[in-house]
């Protein structure tokens, strides 16, 4: 009799262990799945990215100055040009949203150096995050989500969230001072999170980078404010005229900076190196375009670049993977 009980006990324990790892008991933990559920909302746009659904593909060449080569083994920083493909996009889960309503704009690219090592980059217009952990970021998205009944944002909820998160000060300062530009080509895009450059002696250098536009709103093609695709149309006119360029400026952390905290701005006085210029010379519609089926996971890095321990950065891989998995499955099942 006792042997039967022992057997049942072991089998039950084993079954519970399996269920535990499937996530059956952690309903309150913020997982990649819960995160993407929140991003996609009640009506997922099938086959599209769950975040930054609307965008336009681009291609061009990264013309490296060679100045960053002594800080990183990544071949892409050696003097010379390397082709890349990428994407401009706007925040939100709606692939047909009006361009000018989006609070955040993005530039992503994928570049493969001649030693076949790929670097995927995803940059946004804000220089910092409002919060420093995935859990807090989840709560931020919840607070910003429209009420399911009224379909409107609740200002009280948003106020309460930011009051409870004083670390959002730098983000809110940026938000208050930020005016969207008239073009994807004139925005400044930030890595937000910090990474390590790893040099030939395996020394690590904590950096953040920005893509700084060479064009400004004074010298660009006009923007048609009435079109829902205003930014894409403007960009097409712009690229038809001449290539669109961004300088890739890398800032180096000092002892004062915490590379694992994405909510704090680094001083302007930090050592900054111009790694080279992103020269965007061609555009392509997202549908059927080269960027459509790419996952710009910023944790795909070449030898010579490593992720910091920033909890937000490290959460991006799993969240991007879940979004990519869902749309990949939808593409497979509808074709």
């Amino acid at each position: 009799m006792s042997k039967k009980i022992t057997l049942m006990a072991i089998i039950t324990l084993f079954a519970l262990t399996i269920l535990y790892f499937t996530g059956a008991f952690n309903r309150d933990v913020v997982t990649a799945q819960r995160f993407v559920n929140l991003q996609q909302g009640d009506n997922a746009h099938e086959g599209f990215r769950r975040a930054h659904a609307k965008g336009i593909c681009l291609a061009g060449s990264f013309e490296s100055t060679g100045e960053l080569a002594k800080y990183s083994q990544a071949k892409v920083f050696d003097l010379g040009a390397t082709p890349f493909v990428g994407r401009f996009s706007i925040a939100g889960n709606n692939p047909t949203a009006p361009d000018l309503k989006a609070p955040v704009r993005s530039l992503a690219f994928s570049i493969t150096s001649n030693d076949n090592q790929e670097w995927r980059v995803a940059m946004n217009t804000p220089p910092v995050m409002a919060v420093a952990t995935p859990d807090a970021f989840f709560k931020q998205l919840q607070a910003l989500s429209p009420d399911p009944v009224t379909k409107k944002r609740n200002p009280e909820k948003i106020k309460a969230f930011f009051a409870a998160h004083p670390e959002s000060a730098a983000f809110n300062d940026w938000k208050a001072s930020y005016t969207p530009t008239n073009s994807f080509a004139t925005e400044q895009y930030h890595s937000i999170n910090a990474f390590y450059l790893v040099d030939k002696n395996d020394e690590k250098h904590a950096v953040r980078w920005i893509a700084k536009p060479q064009l400004s709103d004074e010298n660009i093609q006009p923007l048609n404010n009435d079109s829902p695709d205003a930014l894409q149309l403007q960009l097409k006119d712009q690229v038809a005229q001449s290539s669109v360029k961004f300088d890739m400026l890398f800032s180096f952390a000092t002892e004062e900076d915490d590379e694992n905290n994405p909510t704090v701005l680094w001083s302007q006085s930090r050592k900054t190196i111009n790694a080279g210029t992103l020269v965007i010379s061609r555009l392509q519609a997202q549908e059927g375009g080269v960027c459509e089926n790419m996952n710009f996971d910023p944790l795909v890095l070449p030898t010579g670049i490593e992720p910091s321990a920033d909890p937000i950065l490290r959460a991006r891989g799993a969240a991007y993977a879940e979004s990519f998995r869902r749309r990949a499955k939808e593409v497979l099942l509808t074709n």
Binding site: L7, T22, G23, A32, N293, R314, F324
Partner: protein
């Protein structure tokens, strides 16, 4: 008639080594696709490295299975149970082979590299394709659940033989003298 009652030492070694790796890999895999924790990045690297190891080990195991005879189930085992045991074993072997291969293919289809503890990198099997990625990504997940089910049945049956029946079936995979 097959008269051996125990698995060879090499079979036992590879069985228990793979049991440890496979259970760790399945639990790690289930955790890392959900978790947003900081260890997620290193977990994926480990998962890929141990996946390559599992693929190497299952290859050795298949060769070992041809070289060394496996003990038969005792005649006291009823026919339906023997059939269930056989089917579970087929499922376990199929899972052992398909898990690492589907993982390798899904990584290839998103142009991601699979490195073996930084020592070498596997070649990409297919070019970048979202539908190929989707197929093998879903397969990798579904096979994982099937694998867990087969393992559960296998472990339950082994313990049933060892604790209740005491017919030497569990002992055949344990070192030392067992009845």
């Amino acid at each position: 008639m097959n008269t051996i009652t125990k698995y060879s030492a090499s079979s036992m070694l590879i069985h228990w080594a793979m049991a440890l790796i496979i259970l760790s890999m399945l639990f790690l895999g289930l955790s890392m696709v959900q978790s947003l924790a900081v260890w997620q990045v290193e977990a994926i690297q480990l998962h890929k490295s141990f996946g390559v190891l599992a693929l190497i080990l299952v290859t050795i195991r298949l060769i070992n299975k041809v070289l060394y005879k496996s003990p038969a189930l005792p005649p006291s085992v009823p026919k339906p149970q023997a059939l269930a045991a056989h089917l579970t074993q087929v499922g376990l072997y199929a899972s052992m082979i398909l898990m690492p291969i589907s993982g390798w293919l899904m990584q290839s289809a998103d142009e991601r590299t699979v490195s073996f503890f930084g020592l070498f990198t596997l070649p990409n099997l297919v070019s970048k394709n979202i539908e190929v990625y989707a197929f093998f990504r879903e397969a990798h997940g579904l096979i994982a659940y099937a694998f867990l089910l087969f393992i559960f049945m296998h472990v339950s049956a082994a313990l049933y033989h060892g604790l209740i029946k005491q017919d030497g079936v569990l002992g055949s995979m344990l070192p030392g003298k067992h009845k």
